[in-house]
Amino acid sequence: MRRYLLRRLLESVVTLVLVTMVVFAGVRALPGDQVRALVGEESDPAVLEQLRHEYGLDQPIPVQYVRYVGKALSGDLGTSARTGLPVADTIGHALPVTLQLSVFSIVIAVLIGISAGVVAAVRRRTAAEWAANTVALLGLSVPNFWFGLMAVLVFAIAFPVLPASGFVSVFDNPVESFRHLLMPAVVLGSGLAAVIMRQCRSAMLEALGADYVRTARAKGLGGAQVVLGHALRNSLIVVTTIVGLQLGVLISGAVVTEQIFVLPGFGKLTIDAVFTRDYPLIQGVVLVTATAYIGLNLLVDLLYSVIDPRVRVGGAVA
């Protein structure tokens, strides 16, 4: 077990190093650098040179990388080239926004997806199933940015019932937080809701035709009890797996949604950092994301190995 753990840890560190190297070189391969983006139209070569020296950009990329890693290891992610504010603080402000948005989106997606999936499975070949399928198809095919803009036009401008933008933390004011996050969460959750609906529907159809459901009906249980207590309960395994698999898609969808609804989250931070070629911020964002992703994967792998010892043995044999 210890050997397996060490191997997995080593692999994780190597992956992390490779990710940071690729991003470090990648952002520098983009045309124009952070100094260009900062200085804009004023292209005095002396000023550009001075700033590049100040930010250490006149050093070879490997030297810049080693310096960056050295500081990052001591917990210093540097300061944003644009704002001069610490990268760690900036990320610290953005993360809770995206987390709250994601959680709210998942709740909405699960509620809509399961309800629609159950209705579609139980009321087969009716208008209800058709409507649920259509909504699912729309949820899958309509891009977030278009859906978001339309939602703002309808619910914030034509019928101003919800704010068009902004963020209020659920811990500060739950009601206002709900009003501000409702539209973005629905927009972000729409794709996931559609996936859940379709998976839930097919799982339900399969379950409704299964022997144990027939037995339950034969025992004289009511329709609702059979559907919700037996068929749905078994179908939820599929739904749970789907939610887990789709989390990554949800987070990447937040990039667009946060732009449209001006939510100061991780996605908006990433995009804005790329547009302003803010190297320290881009690197910080990627480092945090990669660490979280690799950390979670490692945790899952370790859990697997605890649950099923063949995993670690198989790894050693292979």
Binding site: P31, G32, D33, R36, A37, L38, V39, G40, E41, E42, S43, D44, P45, A46, V47, Q50, L51, E54, S80, R82, T83, G84, L85, D89, T90, H93, A94, A127, W130, A131, N133, T134, A136, L137, L149, M150, V152, L153, V154, A156, I157, A158, P160, P163, A164, S165, G166, R198, R201, Q259, I260, F261, V262, P264, K268, L269, D272, A273, T276, R277
Partner: protein
């Protein structure tokens, strides 16, 4: 899953009808609004009475950089500074320089080498400390000498700053320098609290302390900057709003939607495509002012080895008739119809321009505004006289934005009537600057945001080896005239000199000036007192909600 196509038609229509109605309502909400408003005509100011109190929300198009007047570089940052950091001088709505933290315009010594500035009395910084000559010296010295200062080049004409008495400073100059007052009317004239500078050092940007109608409260990067009314401000009675929240909303559609929905009251730089809807909406108003800058086409005449290097004849593939023969450049200019470009590309919202000085500037003159008329036949004749075979092939770097492409295509179409075959090279802005600085271009469609003093719009672009002379233009007469215009303090004499410089530029055509943009700010009708002058800065000192 059954395909929706296999479903009956009626339910589909029934489902879509309410959605379609909602969408149509939403999309036409702006267009259906009344346009018979009796609001004041669009200008850069709005003087309706406003009540005290309230939070103004402003949507900025991009994130300001460091809120440190010494280190700040972005134009958008100047709008935030306008609320929290006053300067020794400012401009009024006619772009005249007026005292702000100074009590009078500078007194210039007979030899032009000393500018004596009286400081306004009874002024306190936001931290309660007093503004005096020593504080002014501290800030000016910091602007001049701090490592990484973005003001150092603007202050390069300054030799030293002396405290004459507690309310007077003397600025020693290396030589006569007429643009000094204009320089001190921008970030180089912003005075920071010495106590705060000492306490925070290079971290001053995290909590800037200056003199202003508002004081810095908080900042969340990529999200918002908040400032609150400063009770220490010397003219606090005129300040109406309690708080201003600057939100950063990069996407222009989202920004405009937020103004329409009432989530913000002031909108920085609406997109040209949103202006019609903004004007048609009776709940919104558009403030405009003619920009101090310009847009044009810079021709690579002799930038062979990179910006800042001595001019040299171009080599392939950048050499060509545009660099070699002024008749080709004149023909290119004659083939362009500036009015049509403005009408077709910018819906007539901007102003055709033929020089670097705006009509509203005190330094404008007939010579500065002289313009060659559109004449494609004459263009062809000139090319024939020059012995050039048409179509003359030229390449032009343009921005890869929608507006940049449309402008490039309009130029391409018009130039073809004059005998040119223009190949467009759409390029991302930073990449375009990299390429053109290095001299890798024939023509480049580029502009300049503009400065109050004409020196800022001319000197570095037309002086030999000037910091922004990417075309490598070099003319001893122009160099001499620019140096003269800098050294003379008399306004009429400077106006005449700039007229001469522009006439010479019209002869040589290193830059073919095209049009001048219009600064635009969208404002909710609920808000009054917002001002925007030719410098494009949104001024909110007296802004508030209408009563």
């Amino acid at each position: 899953m059954p395909s929706p196509m296999s479903e009956p038609v009626r339910p589909k229509m029934a489902l879509f009808r309410p959605v379609a109605v909602l969408l149509v309502l939403a999309l036409t909400a702006g267009a259906c609004s009344s346009i018979d408003s009796d609001e004041p005509a669009d200008t850069g100011t709005d003087n309706r009475p406003v009540r005290a109190g309230g939070t103004l929300r402003v949507a900025l198009a991009e994130e300001p950089d460091r809120l440190d007047p010494t280190l700040a570089r972005t134009l958008v940052g100047r709008t935030v500074f306008n609320a929290i950091c006053e300067k020794l001088y400012d401009v009024d709505e006619n772009l005249n320089l007026v005292p702000q933290l100074a009590s009078a315009l500078p007194e210039i010594s007979a030899d032009g080498k000393t500018a004596t500035i009286k400081i306004r009395s009874g002024v306190k910084f936001a931290d309660g400390t007093t503004l005096d000559a020593a504080a002014v010296k501290t800030s000016l010295d910091r602007h001049r000498t701090l490592t990484g200062s973005a003001r150092a080049s603007e202050m390069s004409s300054v030799d030293g700053v002396d405290v004459v008495d507690p309310s007077t400073v003397a600025i020693r100059l290396k030589g006569p320098f007429a643009p000094l007052t204009a320089v001190l009317a921008d970030r180089a004239g912003m005075i920071m609290s010495p106590a705060a500078l000492q306490a925070r050092g290079e971290d001053f940007a995290a909590a800037p302390v200056c003199v202003g109608p508002f004081k810095f409260d908080s900042r969340v990067a990529q999200d918002r900057i908040e400032v609150v009314k400063d009770p220490n401000y010397y003219d606090a009675a005129k300040v109406k709003a309690d708080r201003i929240v600057y939100s950063i909303i990069a996407d222009s559609t989202t920004r405009f939607n937020n103004l329409r929905s009432g989530d913000v009251e002031v909108l920085d730089r609406p997109a040209a495509t949103d202006v019609d809807a903004l004007e048609a909406d009776s709940n919104l108003r558009l403030l405009t002012s003619e920009s101090l800058g310009y847009q044009g086409i810079t021709v690579n005449l002799a930038n062979r080895n990179g910006l800042g290097k001595p001019p040299a004849p171009l080599a392939a593939p950048y050499a060509g008739p545009m660099a070699a023969d002024v008749r080709a450049r004149r023909a290119f200019e004659l083939s362009l119809d500036r009015e049509a470009i403005n009408r077709v590309v910018f819906r007539g919202k901007y102003q055709p321009a033929c020089g670097p000085i705006s009509k509203g500037s005190p330094y404008s003159s007939d010579a500065a505004q002289e313009c060659a008329a559109h004449d494609p036949a004459a263009a062809k004749q000139l090319l024939a006289d020059a012995g050039l075979t048409t179509p003359v092939k030229v390449t032009m770097v343009i921005g890869n934005t929608p507006d940049g492409r449309r402008l490039g295509e309009a130029i391409q179409a018009q130039a073809s009537e004059g005998g040119f075959d223009v190949q467009l090279q759409p390029t991302e802005f930073s990449a375009a600057l990299d390429a053109t600085d290095a001299g890798r271009f024939q023509m480049f469609q580029i502009g300049w945001s503009g400065r109050v003093d004409p020196d800022g719009n001319i000197a570095s672009f037309l002086t030999t080896q000037g910091a922004q002379n990417i075309g490598g233009y070099s003319d001893p007469e122009v160099d001499q005239l620019i140096a003269q215009a800098r050294a003379v303090n008399d306004e009429a004499r400077r106006r005449d000199l700039y007229g001469q410089i522009i006439s010479k530029a019209h002869e040589d055509l290193p830059i073919i000036y095209l049009y001048r943009t219009v600064n635009m700010t969208g404002v909710s009708a609920k808000v009054g007192g917002v001002k925007m002058y030719g410098d494009g800065i949104i001024r909110l000192a007296e802004a508030g909600f209408t009563s």
